[in-house]
Symmetry: C2
Subunit: 262 residues, 2 copies
């Protein structure tokens, strides 16, 4: 199944996406829902982020080839993480597909994409094991962990390097029944492939992250776990481009890039 969150005029609702049609739901996939008799053309709706997380987890360094690429670029030795230590992003930064990634005027040119698979929590969960970890997951969506590399280096935390308004595009839909450990993710700029990888290359699996997190933290419906990126994350994003994160079952997360004027 393919769930989305939509706006039509002033109304906001969840829907089931079936081809070019959206069946409006009464309720939500995070609580309970019933299909209604309202059907819409997908093209007539504004697509919103498919959920509104309160807790926004992010697996930082989770693919060897990306870590090696980043280390080489900085002239540093490659150091793979030894533990599945999760990080955080902040919901202020979320935006939906088709909304612009806005680069503040004082950012350097080194603003880069990171195309990621995102696990969306459907059920309250604690103390899961790797074997039953995926039982709390409703489905999967896509994310773009937009990052400013000079701020990532200069600041004590990742606050503005990763969390500027609009720097966390997420969507377009949540798809159930996928194997998170075997999906091809591709990143395109202006329709040209610039990077790609298969999620089987994760250093720590989705299951492992969920088991680790739930040793200490309760996962709640609508929480998201971004699972990291592989490959290089160049070229830089520039004003006027369109960046797409693509996975064939989930769809295309597409965002134009705009640089603010000083």
């Amino acid at each position: 199944m393919k769930f989305g969150r939509f706006q039509h005029q002033s109304r906001t609702f969840y829907g089931l996406v079936e081809g070019e049609q959206v069946v409006e739901l009464d309720g939500s996939p995070f609580t309970s829902y019933k299909p209604t008799s309202n059907a819409h053309l997908l093209s007539a709706l504004k697509i919103l982020t498919p959920c509104e997380p309160r807790n926004f987890y992010c697996a930082g360094l989770n693919y060897a080839a990306h870590i090696e690429w980043a280390a080489k670029r900085k002239g540093l030795a490659v150091k793979l993480p030894e533990k599945a230590d999760v990080g955080y992003r902040s919901p202020n930064a979320l935006c939906a597909t088709d909304e612009p990634i806005v680069i503040p005027a004082d950012a350097t040119e080194m603003v880069q994409f990171e195309g990621e698979l995102v696990a969306v929590v459907g059920k309250t969960a604690k103390h899961l094991t790797e074997d039953n970890a995926l039982s709390c997951i409703l489905g999967y969506t896509l994310g773009n962990d937009v990052s400013e590399r000079s701020w990532q280096k200069s600041d004590r935390t990742l606050w503005r390097a990763k969390n500027c308004d609009s720097w966390k595009p997420m969507g377009p839909f949540i798809v159930t029944g996928l194997d998170p450990m075997n999906l091809d993710v591709e990143i395109r700029i202006d329709s040209q492939r610039v990077a790609g990888y298969n999620t089987s290359k994760m250093l720590f699996s989705a299951q492992r992250y969920i088991a680790e997190i739930t040793k200490y933290m309760t996962l709640h419906p609508g929480d998201v776990i971004w699972l990291g990126t592989d490959d290089a994350t160049e070229p830089n994003l520039a004003h006027g481009q369109v960046c797409e994160i693509v996975q064939k079952d989930i769809g295309v997360l597409r965002n134009p890039v705009v640089r603010e004027k000083a």
Copy 2:
């Protein structure tokens, strides 16, 4: 004014605290509200966290004496931060006054309090200056940034060192009209003062943090900015103790400490 969020039987509502009475509100201080004719005895209500933040900002190192104490304890040179780089905590960890701080069985003994002043955002805001920064703040509450010092050292991020379930007590009430830069905060264990400071000692003021954050991020009603702690944060918190963060206008944030059995 003193706002709180309360539960009575299965109902949840905002209220205005007037002495030992709570006047129930229709609406919330984050949108709009009207006092109702329902009044309750404060002692008859469960006090909830006074807001439900989506974005949970936290000024890490914001008082020199605390930084000096921590550096000395670790045998490191004192290094004060040069910029107001804000960090994040996660809402899963919030708990209300009177709820237990639960220490996981595998935590070391080095679980410590950090009593903090918390600014609560009341209005959507971006691009504020230090001069008008406080215009977006509804009022102030208290927080306890409970921290496991061995995990803080060993992990790549602060995820479990700071964000275990129940490790972010916040409350009891939000008080308007306070000067955030001149409040006495005291920490007590089992009614004995163990630490205290005046917020005038902040390295970067509340105004400065808000101006910095809103260069890049939109603040939303209900977001919180924890403003850091001063002084030592010992002794460790132990099973059976009660930890209190106290400020005379806001009140007492009081949490018993429980260690989970292995």
